[in-house]
């Protein structure tokens, strides 16, 4: 990895992060939105690992593990919510859920 350097890793991480964000904001299907959130969290992990490797300390890996834990919890709750939404309006299309309208 010594020829590659940290920048490419960071660029991949940012790319993944941007794709995830675009997906979260633009997709109408709730499940896909949740997946894109997973994607964004992954990109963060990548950055952590990249820095860990660059600085030669394993702390980054510990953080990556913790991020995975949080991601799991978040996915569980998120899916529970999606089920609730589905039960409410038999659809997961977020456009139908605008009850918050001011």
């Amino acid at each position: 990895m010594d020829q590659v350097g940290l920048y490419p890793v960071l660029f991949t991480s940012v790319a993944l992060f941007m794709i995830g964000a675009a997906g979260v904001l633009s997709r109408r299907n709730a499940l896909i939105v949740l997946m894109c959130i997973e994607l964004m969290l992954n990109s963060v992990n990548l950055a952590f690992v990249g820095f860990a490797r660059h600085l030669g300390q394993a702390d980054g890996h510990v953080f990556a593990i913790f991020v995975m834990a949080v991601a799991a919890a978040e996915a569980a709750v998120g899916l529970a919510l999606v089920i609730l939404l589905f039960r409410h309006k038999a659809s997961v299309d977020l456009e139908n859920f605008t009850m918050l309208k001011g």
Binding site: T12, F17, I19, R28, L31, A58, V62, L79, L84, S91
Partner: protein, 167 residues
Amino acid sequence: MLHAVIFYFFAIMTILAGLAVVTRRSPIAAAIALVVTFFFQASLYVLLDAHFVAVAQILVYAGAIMVLFIFVMMLLNLRGSDPGTLPHIPGRALAGLAVAGLVGTGLVVSLEGLRMMDMGPAPDDFGTIEQVGALIFNGTYLLPFEVASVLLTVAMVGAVVLAKREV
């Protein structure tokens, strides 16, 4: 030199898989694309000498979370999103890209102080489970580890309460 080529290959494949997740119309296809992304990501971890994290990535993400997703999709027996309307809102996609891009470049630019080029060879036991385990259990991360476990239990109970049918 070979090392760099492999790295770039896996990096590009990860990004393409990520794009696939966002662009597939049906959630099933998106889920599979996501699994593929996880695998490529794991390989990137290996290249970065983060062996334990790579394995954990496969086990936790690909194994557990994606199974959960597939399970829920089966439960809600979605037959792909309804045909008529556009699956996504173009305007907001661009906005999302712009915003995330802004954040990303902002961060990367602020790092220009670090000497970025050569990382030098990693020590032999770097990234193995022993090192990470040592760090967590007798090092500084013991408390966060315990908190993470509490978090997971709470999430589990929450998910059950939310999703169970009224009795």
